[in-house]
């Protein structure tokens, strides 16, 4: 009975999943671009810039995601017109930027000092050195921790329903309320769908990590 319902509603669950994935891709891209800039400023910037970055990071990591979504959809939209999806991308994307900046900052700091020095000693300016020497190394080291961010943001997309983005969890909620029950079965299916996307994403990221891996960038051996 519920399985028939699930089967008939599957196209809508899948549609919800594509909305979730679309949201995920947009928010991660925004987070990546901005997170990288924040990390560079935090590591190499003037102290005023560093302060701004730290403040940004504190605020966006301190406020629960749901509240951020509501603040963007109902607060920021007083000044800038945007729809639910855009607001969700901005709220979750900026939050992700705060998290990603920490990932990249860690990676920047783990590039040995000598690399920057050697680049500078050659006559590269700071920007050139960051672009040509530091970032290619730091990004390689970031892929591992970045898979975590991927997983947690995938699940965070499910919160966007509060501002009217009809993604996977909301579609599931429709089925649950229409049948007035079956929480476990429906959420079980949804969990499976998240799990599959998560595995696929991680698989792709690990493959990327392997493809980009160079001698000297392997993990240190197990203790």
């Amino acid at each position: 009975m519920i399985f028939e319902t699930l089967l008939s509603q599957m196209p809508y669950l899948v549609h919800g999943l594509t909305v979730a994935i679309g949201l995920l891709v947009c928010l991660l891209s925004l987070g990546l671009a901005l997170g990288l800039v924040l990390a560079i400023l935090e590591v190499y910037g003037h102290w005023t810039l560093r302060l701004v970055c730290v403040l940004f990071e504190r605020v966006f990591r301190g406020i629960p995601a749901i509240v951020l979504l509501l603040l963007f959809y109902y607060g920021v939209t007083d000044y800038i017109e945007m729809g639910s999806f855009t607001a969700a991308v901005l709220a979750l994307g900026l939050r992700s930027a705060a998290y990603q900046s920490q990932i990249f900052r860690g990676a920047f700091l783990s590039v040995p000092n000598g690399q920057m020095m050697a680049a500078r000693a050659m006559g590269m300016n700071k920007l050139q050195a960051i672009r040509d020497i530091i970032i290619p190394q730091a990004l390689r080291m970031s892929i591992g921790p970045w898979t975590n961010e991927f997983s947690s943001e995938l699940k965070a997309t499910s919160l966007a329903y509060v501002i009217g983005v009809v993604e996977l969890t909301r579609q599931a909620k429709y089925i649950i309320s229409n049948t007035q029950g079956n929480i476990l079965v429906v959420f079980g299916v949804v969990a499976l769908m998240y799990f599959v996307v998560n595995r696929a994403g991680n698989w792709a990221l690990y493959r990327l990590e392997n493809r980009l891996s160079l001698p000297g960038f392997e993990h240190r051996g197990d203790a």
Partner: protein
């Protein structure tokens, strides 16, 4: 004069590390700086190309003073070879050598690679061109980093203890490359305790202690008849590996 170092001072916090160092180098000369650990040899070298800007004093390369403004172009004239190589980990050997010409000297991709292969040959590394730094032995890494310096076609190369991270035999590889460069007329300023190189290739030994030059002169004089007690004691240690 190719290099003029004029009254360089440098402090870290309260500690004055360099207390007024001056010397000159003519084109084609090789000088070796020696002295006990912590004496400021590395600091001096880093002051010369402003990796650590000096507090006081001036640096002239080829008659032009080094300032904050012309820093990046001047550094292309003054290459630096580090003790721990600092090859760019994510680039193959040949790319390490080519990146300078490519990004800083306006070479095309092909031209930069051609030059890189030429310089790798000069240090005897052409066969390892495609390896990553982590796949090279220490001696090979240091030779690659010398090739990287050479590819900038600098007026002067600064070496900071280029062999001290190496095994005795690997040291040999690097020293022979340095001997070769010296004999080809490259101007080199080398912080090193390699007696072999100092005796054979140096025009002058500069002995530093406590942030000052306390003795300088041709190797024959410094090694055979040092004027200062401190110099003598130090040379005793490094020549005989013994606690003086």
């Amino acid at each position: 004069m190719l290099l003029r170092v004029e009254n360089i001072h440098k402090s870290y916090g309260a500690a004055e590390i360099l207390k007024g160092v001056s010397f000159d180098m003519a084109p084609g000369q090789s000088k070796v700086i020696m002295g006990p650990s912590g004496t400021g040899k590395s600091t001096l070298l880093r002051c010369i190309n402003h990796l650590t800007p000096p507090d006081k004093g001036r640096i002239f390369v080829d008659g032009e003073e080094l300032t904050a403004k012309n820093l990046n172009t001047m550094r292309q004239k003054v290459a630096f070879v580090f003790q721990d190589f600092n090859l760019f980990t994510h680039l193959r050997t040949v790319e390490n050598v080519a990146i300078g010409p490519r990004k800083l000297r306006g070479f095309g991709k092909k031209a930069a690679l051609d030059l890189a292969y030429k310089e790798l040959e000069r240090v005897g590394l052409s066969d390892r061109a495609d390896a990553y730094p982590a796949e090279l032995s220490g001696g090979q890494q240091q030779r690659a980093s010398i090739a990287r310096a050479l590819a900038m076609e600098p007026k002067l190369i600064l070496f900071d203890e280029p062999t001290s991270a190496l095994d005795p035999e690997l040291t040999g590889e690097v020293v022979s490359v340095m001997n070769k460069l010296a004999s080809e007329g490259m101007t080199m300023l080398v912080v090193s305790h390699e007696i072999g190189f100092a005796r054979k290739a140096a025009d002058e030994i500069i002995f530093m202690e406590g942030g000052k030059i306390i003795e300088q002169g041709p190797p024959s004089q410094i090694f055979n008849a040092p004027q200062q007690d401190r110099t003598r004691a130090f040379l005793n240690v490094i020549e005989h590996g013994d606690d003086a």
